[in-house]
């Protein structure tokens, strides 16, 4: 259970799996971190946030978008992701946290945005799997 960076002509794709929706969300986020930095430092404080959306795929999209936003506004590389996902009424909610590694401590590059291109989020016998393309 975890993630793999996959070939994409111009961008970067992350394939991930996890035992739960929360685990697969966090695994995709770990892949996003790996796309930006080969070796994130063990420094930085954890921060938390929550995101709501109308569906599971939309929630995954908004969660990753929020991470990119937090990165730019906090000036940190989010790493070591944790997430739990639940359905609340007709809305999906992710409660998430990450360790914000100060940019000064890492050699990192930009990922511009999450995309819906070829996005896959599906239940499997072992849990959940996801495929997400990021714009570099």
């Amino acid at each position: 259970m975890g993630f793999t960076l996959r070939d994409h002509t111009a961008d970067v794709a992350v394939e991930a799996d996890g035992e739960s929706l929360g685990a697969v969300f966090a695994a995709v986020a770990d892949g996003l971190t790996a796309a930006m930095c080969d070796d994130p430092a063990e420094t930085g404080d954890r921060f938390s946030f929550a995101v709501r959306a109308e569906g599971r795929e939309a929630l995954l999209f908004d969660y990753l978008d929020q991470l990119i936003y937090e990165r730019d506004v906090r000036g940190v590389l989010p790493a070591a992701h944790e997430a739990t996902v639940r359905l609340e009424g007709d809305e999906w909610v992710v409660e998430a946290s990450a360790r914000g590694v100060p940019f000064a401590d890492v050699d990192a590059r930009d990922v511009k945005a999450v995309t819906y291109s070829e996005m896959r989020l599906a239940e499997t016998d072992a849990g959940w799997e996801a495929y997400v393309v990021f714009d570099v």
């Binding site: 994409h8 002509t9 111009a10 936003y69 730019d72 000036g75 590059r109 945005a113 999450v114």
Partner: protein, 501 residues
């Protein structure tokens, strides 16, 4: 007539360098690929053709969806794609613009020669790397408060002139004079503005760079003279976009379209083609927000150019004006614009391809160029007075080990591509594979020792991902553009110093 097959897609050759995917099924128009046989082999190698065919499903797409010679797989709409949709009953698609709104290129000329620069390369590349923010979290030339951001979004390079970062001459040599009047900052989200605040005047990373180059070849003396280019001259090329502010704007509108125009989205084969119906409130708001992000990107490149002028002044110990550091042109290659084009129409007045048309009419269209450069020939009213007689400069960046090109808008571009041509070499190899094939430091050493190109980057991985071998042959891309008459070769440049994120 020759045909080529790639998976389930068959292309028929219309004439040399012009291939067509005929209209069938739910397609609203045929698609065309402008490529030589060699480039078509690359284009057919990934999902570019599938994405191009999907793009023909956009409502109101006019004539053809078109793939430029440097086209490659993107997300939703292919990179190197041009799609013109009817501005009255078609659609406006953030997905067909891309996340990096007004990603583009500018070139600044100087009166220095390569000989003047030799011996200063190391000092210059170090000083540029120090002065121009790049990479992730590198900050910007300016850190903007809320008022500054609003002003930049509303007024583009006019803000830069008032703030002392640009001259009137810079404005006169920028697409749209560096200012989109349709900008509506109130339709740019607070999230986007938050991301833009500390990135005003920054390169970012990926394929963005600043390069000092020398002019190696002149192909059209008269046009080169009008552009202020001559052999052996030093020029500076800057390639970047609207940074987090533009990326967030695209993301925001993609999600709003998903929520507010689900019916239209459900009819499209790819969610990333996200489009708002022309005339809808959302289309109007996106257009205003996109134009504001376009203004932001022009300021971004202007601030980097301003810093570059200061660095040259330090390194060469003279005022930048004495080195005649002038903006040749700044042109976007990720953009949608309302433009008027002549199109063929059928007896019911519907735009159709020329062979089916009974007459021709002028129509207002949203011309989406995603990884494609506007390439207007002489005579179009949008051209700045300086280039009204010769055609618009088009800047085609190559990889850091190959040349770049300056073209001018070709006579055939309005007929073939809604006034567009390629935007670069086009990627060939994935980033993950590039990092397996290349090692950043080795690439840097080889470029310096074999080509006398000085590269400095925040991340060795970026150098590996952007190694010259991961790109298509820019010479072949430009040859096709020139032979089709959509963008004519004017000059070629070769890198001397390159900085990237």
């Amino acid at each position: 007539m020759e045909t080529r097959e790639f998976g389930d897609i068959e292309l028929r050759q219309v004439r040399e360098h012009v291939w067509e995917i005929p209209r069938e099924g739910e397609m609203n128009a045929p698609a065309r690929v402008l490529a030589s046989e060699a480039l078509l082999d690359h284009i057919g190698d990934d999902k570019t053709l599938e994405q191009l065919r999907n793009a023909t499903h956009l409502p109101g797409i006019t004539k053809h969806a078109i793939c430029m010679p440097d086209g490659h797989q993107g997300y939703g709409f292919p990179v190197g794609g041009v799609g013109a949709t009817d501005a009255t009953d078609g659609c406006l698609s953030p997905g067909a613009v891309g996340y990096d709104i007004n990603c583009g290129v500018r070139m600044m000329t100087t009166n220095l020669t390569y000989e003047d620069l030799q011996g200063h390369e190391e000092e210059l590349v170090d000083a540029l790397f120090e002065a121009v923010p790049s990479g992730l979290g590198g900050g910007g030339v300016v850190t903007g408060d809320a008022e500054t951001i609003e002003d930049i979004l509303a007024r583009g390079m006019r803000w830069a002139v008032d703030a002392g970062y640009a001259t009137d001459d810079d404005l006169a040599h920028c697409e749209d004079e560096g200012f989109r009047d349709d900008a509506r900052p109130e339709f740019v989200s607070q999230k986007a503005k938050d991301r833009g605040r500390n990135q005003i005047g920054s390169l970012g990373s990926g394929n963005h760079f600043l390069e000092v180059q020398r002019v190696t070849d002149i192909y059209r003396e008269d046009v080169a003279e009008s552009f202020g280019l001559e052999a052996d001259q030093i020029v500076v090329l800057i390639h970047c976009g609207s940074r987090g502010l533009g990326h967030q704007t695209c993301t925001d509108y993609l999600r709003r379209i998903e929520k507010e125009h689900k019916d239209l989205l459900d009819d499209l084969p790819d969610k990333e083609l996200a489009a708002a119906p022309a005339g809808s409130a959302l289309a109007e708001e996106y257009y205003g927000a996109m134009c504001a992000a376009i203004n932001f990107a022009w300021v971004n490149r202007q601030l980097i150019m301003h810093r570059t002028r200061e660095v040259f002044a330090d390194v060469f110990d003279r005022d930048w004006r004495d080195m005649e550091m002038r903006l040749l042109y700044d042109v976007a290659h990720n953009i949608a614009k309302k433009e008027v084009h002549e199109v063929g129409v059928d007896p019911e007045g519907r735009p159709v391809r020329d062979s089916d048309a009974v007459e021709r009419e002028e129509r207002e269209l949203y011309v989406h160029r995603k990884g494609a450069t506007r390439a207007f020939p002489a005579g179009r009213p949008e051209l700045p007075p300086a280039y009204a007689e010769v055609g618009q400069p088009v800047i085609i960046p190559g990889s850091m080990g190959a040349g770049s090109y300056v073209l001018r808008g070709g006579d055939q571009s309005l007929d073939l591509t809604f006034g567009s041509t390629a935007h670069g070499a086009g990627r060939l190899m994935s980033r993950t594979k590039a990092k397996q094939e290349y090692w950043g430091e080795t690439v840097q050493d080889e470029l310096r020792e074999q080509e006398k190109i000085y590269v400095k980057a925040q991340s060795g991985a970026t150098v590996a991902e952007e190694a010259p071998g991961v790109y298509k042959d820019v010479d072949e891309v430009v040859r096709v553009s020139d032979e089709l008459g959509i963008g004519d070769k004017v000059a070629r440049t070769f890198p001397v110093c390159n900085i990237k994120g």
